[in-house]
């Protein structure tokens, strides 16, 4: 119950954070003008007709970044609880995390050597 009441504000805040834009954008839609045109609806590409489709298979570079992120961020999530309890866990925890960090850093060295961090 206590835990739930602590998270109640989060839910409330979300509701408010959604309600406010809905309200304001709603008002703006009513107040604002609505003049439609064919040319107006063309996506902005510096004033010329767009050539080709936008939704192609996009540069793999960004995908790699996302993969790296998932690997390292998930690992970081594991480190957090350990960090909180570091004092209680003592030497055992320390060695455990040292091994974990070592593997993680090894992973970083690997992607670095493999060239995944280079842009070209």
């Amino acid at each position: 119950m206590l835990a739930a009441s602590k998270y109640a504000p989060v839910v409330l805040l979300f509701v408010i954070a959604l309600a406010i834009p809905v309200l304001m954008i709603g008002i703006a839609t009513i107040v604002g003008p609505r003049r439609l045109g064919v040319k107006k609806k063309v996506p902005f590409e510096c004033g010329t007709e767009p050539i080709g489709d936008t939704r192609k298979r996009f540069s793999v570079r960004f995908f790699l970044v996302a993969l790296l992120f998932i690997v390292f961020d998930v690992e970081a999530v594991f480190i957090f609880p350990w960090a909180v309890l570091f004092r209680q866990l003592g030497l055992f925890g320390f060695i455990e995390m040292a091994v974990f960090l070592f593997i993680l850093i090894l992973g970083l060295v690997y992607v670095w050597k493999k060239g995944a961090l280079e842009w070209e």
Partner: protein, 372 residues
Amino acid sequence: MTEFITEEMTLNMGPQHPSTHGVLRFQLTSDGEVIHSVKPDVGYLHRSIEKIAEKVTYHGFMPYTDRVDYVAAMNSNFAWALTVEKLGGYQVPERAEYLRVIAAELNRISSHLIMLGVMAMDIGAVTPFPYFLRERETINDLLEELCGARLTYNYIRIGGVSSDLPDGFRDRALRFLDHFEPIIDEFNRLITYNEIFVNRLANIVIIPREQAIAWALVGPNLRASGVKWDLRKDEPYSIYPQVEFDIPVGKGEVGTVGDCFDRFIVRVDEMRESSKIIRQCLDKMPEGEIQSKLPRQLKPPKGEVYVRSESARGEMGYYLVSNGGLNPERVKIRTGSFSAMAIMEEVSKGIMIADMVALISSLDVIAPEIDR
């Protein structure tokens, strides 16, 4: 990591794009951030100035030359005046020559100021831009005193200039130069040697000496590649032989000779030299006429002539064919920006979109000068 294949995306950069300096279009094909090919598409600002020249008189074409390169209109005026004078063999009083050089060099500084400010802005530093333009305002004021206009001057006339120095101009010009020369150092402290700025420009799009010559780059772009070629020195005209100045060339200060940083720093140094020239001209200027006696309706003899002069964007050439009548038979204008556009496709393979922006601004292309 070439084993991954992604589809190329075709992007239109321009005509309405913040970093194309006017209406200029590049068709890029890119794989995400990396550009595979660039196709410049010019002609959005074509105003058929060359054709207009065939319909107006020789004097009457002068205001049109302002529009060829409105950022350095004085240099454009100058080039046209030189062309017609050479064809007709008209004399120019010495005082007028000095006035022309003073005006042209002031305009060269103001043109470079715009280029440097805009380049800094394209790299992402917005603050230097107002500082550069603040100095340019003073030059605009000076030129306004001189000829009544701030952008399209129409000051240089065939056979002279339109008006003499106003009272106190010399003092005001000197005061500006005294103020301006230290300001160049301030610019260097403000932006030129900023760590990020240097990293963004050093070793980016290197145009080696041979390539620059082969693709007919001119002016500061050519000099940045290490070629010491300046028409003011190498094919002297007007009173340039009588003044002393250096020609700054790209030294590869932080990277390789001919990179974007060199194209930036060459213009910074050129402003110092221009300032030197103006000082000397103000000192040496003789008294006398400012306009030689020429008929109202100019009829240069039949013939053709090509005269080139050093504009702010490099060599500006006017090719003039006369049939002995009131109007030119044909005028062809050769501009630095146009030849700079040609090299674009060659040098921009494999660079990133952000480098592309740096390249466009470092070549200092002005859309009206490309299209005329």
